[in-house]
């Protein structure tokens, strides 16, 4: 039941109106986005890719101040947000170790911290170790809050950049064949991605994972209820030969505790290497949320279908788009 906390909270809410008429107030969870909103956000992200140094676009957030309130370190995510803000001319207040925030250490509630920080800034990007923290922050703040990951819960900007990358690389989101590989039990990334891609038509998902970290039933049931075809497979080569996207993930050692043996068995099982590239369709791509250990071999990097560093870069554009939408509107 404790695992439930790593659920992405299926179908809780999605009551935003669609199209340019909707106003984005906070970014809390992947579920708040429907197809139309995603389309609109991706269009803005695409515009962000075009912004030149010292163009007027690069000054659109001049005068705005973003507070990055990180209760656990995540340098990659923090740099991505801070780069996004600065690329648009905005400024940043950084707290990399808000957990040791003198106030928090003294017992201050998250709500009180938010009330103080919102007095200093125009938007809060928060990373927290507790599921639900971002929602609480957004309920308190009168300025926009972006969830940059809250514990085992949500990391919605990662989910958005994943879907954006598929659309950007493959050219469509309907009729996608998607192979999810690796740690499907613990990776919130693949869970969110499965959830979001189910909003599109004619999608087929293959789950390829060691037995100890299989995709959980809640997502499978959700996909079925949405009419999304899915299949479990233990043959990565066969799956790769049929997919548009192979989404590889890291087996997370920290999930195995003392059972190093299980970890070692699991991590070596499905590796994306030259052999996989050999069967992968020419138009297909390899994705990975990074950091990568050896689940994708280094000799794959030079192949044009290796999309994971472009995927990381897309995170910049998605975050630029969200900052723009939250602070300036459409």
């Amino acid at each position: 039941q404790k695992c439930q906390c790593s659920s992405i909270g299926l179908e809780k809410s999605s009551s935003l109106s669609t199209g340019k008429s909707f106003q984005l107030d906070d970014v809390i969870e992947a579920q708040q986005f429907d197809r139309d909103i995603l389309t609109d956000i991706f269009e803005v992200a695409r515009e962000m890719e075009m912004i030149e140094k010292n163009s007027s676009g690069s000054k659109m957030l001049r005068g705005y101040l973003m507070a990055t309130l990180f209760y656990e370190p995540s340098t990659r995510t923090r740099l991505s947000f801070e780069s996004a803000m600065k690329r648009l001319g905005g400024e940043v207040l950084t707290t990399e170790n808000a957990r040791e925030f003198s106030s928090a250490a003294k017992g201050e509630t998250l709500e009180d911290t938010i009330r103080t920080v919102e007095g200093y800034s125009d938007i809060i990007v928060m990373r927290h170790f507790e599921s639900g923290a971002a929602r609480r922050a957004a309920a308190t703040a009168s300025i926009p809050v972006i969830n940059a990951g809250d514990g085992p819960g949500q990391h919605p900007t990662q989910a958005l950049l994943d879907v954006y990358t598929i659309e950007r690389e493959i050219g469509r989101l309907d009729s996608i064949k998607l192979g999810l590989v690796g740690d499907l039990a613990n990776g919130r990334t693949v869970r969110s991605l499965a959830y979001l891609i189910a909003k599109y038509k004619d999608v087929k998902i293959y789950f390829v994972s060691p037995d100890v970290v299989k995709m959980k039933d809640d997502i499978k049931e959700y996909l079925t209820s949405k009419g999304v075809e899915w299949e479990e497979s233990s043959d990565l080569m066969e799956v790769a030969s049929k997919c548009d996207v192979v989404y590889q993930t890291r087996i997370q050692r920290e999930r195995f505790g003392e059972r190093i043996d299980l970890y070692e068995a699991a991590r070596g099982k499905y590796i994306v290497d030259k052999n996989v590239l050999n069967v992968l369709p020419k138009h297909a791509i390899i994705m990975h949320p990074l950091p990568r250990l050896d689940e994708i071999t280094l000799d794959v990097d030079a192949d044009p279908r290796a999309a994971y560093f472009r995927q990381a870069k897309n995170g910049l554009y998605i975050r630029m788009a969200l900052l723009k939408l939250l602070l300036l509107g459409w």
Copy 2:
């Protein structure tokens, strides 16, 4: 006698000339400000509240660089200063853990560190764990230094924002009835506030605190010498019914060491809650330096007389004013 180090060093110096003719060189201790200077600073702070995004005011410190040299973490204070600098168009160099500053760790003196950092910046905001450190830094630096708290010593910008908040909320500083509640022995905030408010006419102060953390004699004697009426009371309700300002503080657990029993007894004794609100005059306010634990109950927050988050925000305006005055003059 060790407590003396937490003295605010009464009446040591106050030789600045008053009015717009005075030049602010550094901000080191509450005692450097007299009534006229406070009036002038508060006027500038008021102007700071009016500055709009992308107005010319928001660019007044463009090209200036502030170094935040923090030898102990204080995220709240740091963010407030950094926000102030950026709201005026200035830039910031941040060191959150200057104590581990490789140079300091290797035995470099504070003076040498200051001589290096002043080469990189236009103003230094320093937090230090040793009383007197800010004064030493200011004596060394040829650029302005602001004391953002030096150990048990001074935290002058907090003192200024407290007085500013009373003036801003009540509309005057003469003829104020002020209830100081909680840890009056260790809180430098309430000591500085008592000291500064004594510069005004017809002030009455009530001390309400558990016996173990009573206001010390030096401040009481100082107030008496200045003709300020004061009184100790154990009846928070009665005091609240007569005050313009109830200034609540946190009982600091770290001061009690092993004596958790004394801490628990002290912390529960005087709580600001709905009952206190019921007797509090309509025009009065509740203040608190934050962070707050449970010495003010959450149901007080919604009352318009709960001024503590506005008080925190006033810290931003006071710091903007000081940065402006130190870098650009009047």
Copy 3:
């Protein structure tokens, strides 16, 4: 043999073409600079000294983003680079503890980290604990990389600022008499300086150090091969009376392990004090890479020949020059 890792890798490469026609791609090691390139860089540094607040020069890097990727703390170096970037109108993304970079902690390679960070920024300034790390980063990155120190290896911007300071203070680099004092075995600073100064004519170097930390043979042999006169001396007073530059260094306690007795003997042996000033030529200078403990007494600071804080400030101009050259070219 382990000491070899602290070698500055003599004569490995220096194949850059000279003069304004050369394009600076990365700054990795002192050896990449020859006389002509140094002359050109110093000319740009000199221009940097002239840049006024809010002049057009102070905006030349507007729109550019520098990532400071520090795998070990070095606040002094970091602030110097960040100040340099901001003085030119650029922006900064900071990671002070990249070693705990969640990704690195999870086993990500330096190369993968670089590939991600280069997506967020225009130039990377890297400090690393491993010799050779900067070269690996530069080989990976498609944006410029500056080595801000890699373990016992290189710290080329320190070497440049040292040579720049001699040229700036003495007015020439040929015919210099240079006394290197203190820890000559472990200090990469003096090793790099000896290496670079050997590119000039008619140079004479005196080594003055306790026996346990004498200059190593590789540098001595190199100097001899280049026709540079050098001499070991145990008489600091006599050396000081003949030098243009006395370059004092800190005896590094951390190099002595358990042998505190050896450390104490070594550190007290050669102190620059008033007596040294008395014999030092009027035009000569005292340099020190900082931090300084007591190897230069405090009463030396007021003498105009004490150049070490001006030297630190020159680091700012050198770094401004390098950032300009790497991002905008000549």
